[in-house]
Subunit: 205 residues, 2 copies
Amino acid sequence: MTDADHSTGTRRRGRPPRTEAADTRDRILDAAREEFSERGYEKTSVRGIAKAAGVDSALVHHYFGTKEQIFETAISVAFAPALNAPIAIAEGPLDGVGERLTRFVLGIWENTTTRKPLMAIVRSAVNNDTAAAVFRRLIASQLLRRIAEQLDLPDAELRAELAAAQLVGCAMLRYVIKVEPLASADLEQIVRRVAPVVQGHLTGP
Amino acid sequence: MTDADHSTGTRRRGRPPRTEAADTRDRILDAAREEFSERGYEKTSVRGIAKAAGVDSALVHHYFGTKEQIFETAISVAFAPALNAPIAIAEGPLDGVGERLTRFVLGIWENTTTRKPLMAIVRSAVNNDTAAAVFRRLIASQLLRRIAEQLDLPDAELRAELAAAQLVGCAMLRYVIKVEPLASADLEQIVRRVAPVVQGHLTGP
């Protein structure tokens, strides 16, 4: 790749190889996200992703590696904005971190665009150990560790995980199992009850 | 069924029809529990249960109805002791209810005998709406409603569900996703941190 490839002039003149490759990669990732969402981790195959993207399986492997690696990349890309959010969550005033984290997690679930891929991740993680490992690395390590780092308390990681447990359980019962009255309760009512608990886990005695 | 059937004498003399039917029902339920545990709700078929029990599918339908009804019965039987426990949990002194509920739920997950069918229920409920409905009816209604009834507080059901959410989330992260350090943390350490939160949800302001 030369410097010229980065100039607008070069790009507008046609499709240099790098851009075409980037398009193909995007198309494969879109297909992967769609396949994993529809079928879950276990029933998705690299062959199926390749077919949906209109490319050869070998090219999928070439760009992204194994099915596990494709899964991790597809999730990372889908949740890139979400995975950067914890920094903002943890960097504000510490006495509001519980509410910020609660609003952030429930917000992803309330949003119908992010709910579907999230549901696919949860389903995959519950059904398959490899998918669970990916979930662990991404959500647990990236999200929770960043928050724990800001806390600067003993047991910070355990605190972050128990706070997350409250939110994961809320999401499970409200959005997945749909237990009433929780499933239909007003979001603000839940935030009022849950945010202090999350705050307590993170910064309490 | 006659009174004589209940006498030990009759039973020891041989196998009256009623007992044979009961044996068959038990065998079908064992097979159902095993199939649901191994394959999850979606991949289990009435035909497969019948085959594993060595009977005709029609007999399975005759005794237990649809696949959904078999699933519900199999779970009810497996968790009969657990489903009666909430009465004891809720009937003790109210200021210890958080710890009793916490020890009860985490106890089922710590116990390797109950963990496997529980995992199967969670997997099925996350993957399939019909299984989720069964989970809702059994766990949510039977377990949580009984506890809520004892609380005698406004929002008692929502309180019980948010308390359950903390415990469901703990179980998910510790036993299913296996996030560290939570997965390897000492049970007593978790009880110390979680029980007051569960108590707060149930009886707090």
